[in-house]
């Protein structure tokens, strides 16, 4: 059985923890572990990290810095798989970024790398002027 939950919110950095904590609580539905006990739970940790990266990117790489866009996050919940996709109105981009050249002490460019490493599957779609990055992981 597939269940869907949708979160719509302003693309502002202050909401990052709201988004990642909401995602953790959804991940906890699948693991059956309560959140306070979830430290060290790889599944929940992976989603907390990946959604933090993806939401931060949607906020920081907005074309218009004037006023925050509305960002939509869709959770598709299956018994043994969680899929989170995030829609923004930013310019298109590629998710297959080269790994950062660590010896140069880069301050940026780790986000998509982290997402790719902690998720099972990451896909990118461009639809009607929106970016949709979709991340999923099996329990």
């Amino acid at each position: 059985m597939k269940r869907t939950m949708i979160l719509t919110l302003p693309g502002e950095i202050i909401f990052t923890r709201v988004v990642s904590q909401t995602t953790c609580s959804v991940a906890a539905l699948l693991t059956g572990k309560s959140l306070s006990a979830s430290d060290g739970n790889e599944f929940t940790n992976a989603f907390e990290l990946a959604i933090s990266e993806a939401f931060t990117n949607s906020v920081l790489h907005s074309a218009c810095q004037c006023e925050p866009q509305t960002i939509t996050i869709t959770f598709t919940i299956e018994p043994r798989q969680l899929t989170v996709s995030i829609h923004d109105l930013n310019p298109p981009f590629s998710i297959d970024t080269p790994d950062p050249d660590i010896e140069n002490y880069p301050e940026n460019g780790y986000g998509l790398l982290i997402i790719r490493k902690v998720m099972d599957k990451v896909t990118y779609n461009r639809e009607n002027g929106s970016n949709i990055i979709t991340m999923s992981k099996q329990l």
Binding site: I13, I14, T16, R17, D39, G40, N45, E48, L49, S52, E53, T56, V59, L60, D99, P100, I102, Y105, P106, E107, N108, Y110, G111, L113, I114, K117, V118
Partner: protein, 116 residues
């Protein structure tokens, strides 16, 4: 996130407490010891619950400022979740990482006296 200066001196000790992400990362730029190119700093991460790429980038960024990049920032007591972020990005290669703060401080002190 809360940044606490635990001790000053040849080797400064600073503790991070909470969450280091895009909303808290800019705070690192405000800390004098972290941004002084000559100051060796041990950063105690024991109470850092969460770090993402923005937080990692901020730590790498202050390390880059240091005259001696590999020894300007010494990291101690990271939990497994934080360590994982350093591992999967390869950023662990840029830092000396210690299991306890005392060892990190001693190491920093030796290094400093060698330099002088």
């Amino acid at each position: 996130m809360i940044i606490t200066e635990i001790s000053k001196g040849d080797v400064a000790i600073i503790a991070f407490n909470g969450t280091l992400d895009a909303s808290s990362a800019p705070e690192l730029r405000k800390n004098r010891a972290l941004n002084d190119p000559l100051q060796t700093v041990v950063v105690d991460l024991q109470k850092l619950d969460f770090i993402d790429s923005s937080g990692l980038g901020a730590i790498v960024g202050v390390a880059r400022l240091k005259d001696d990049r590999r020894f300007g920032i010494l990291l101690s007591c990271m939990n497994d979740r934080v360590r994982k972020v350093f591992e999967i990005t390869n950023a662990q290669k840029l830092f000396h990482i210690f299991d306890d703060t005392k060892a990190a401080v001693e190491y920093g002190a030796t290094r400093q006296s060698t330099c002088k």
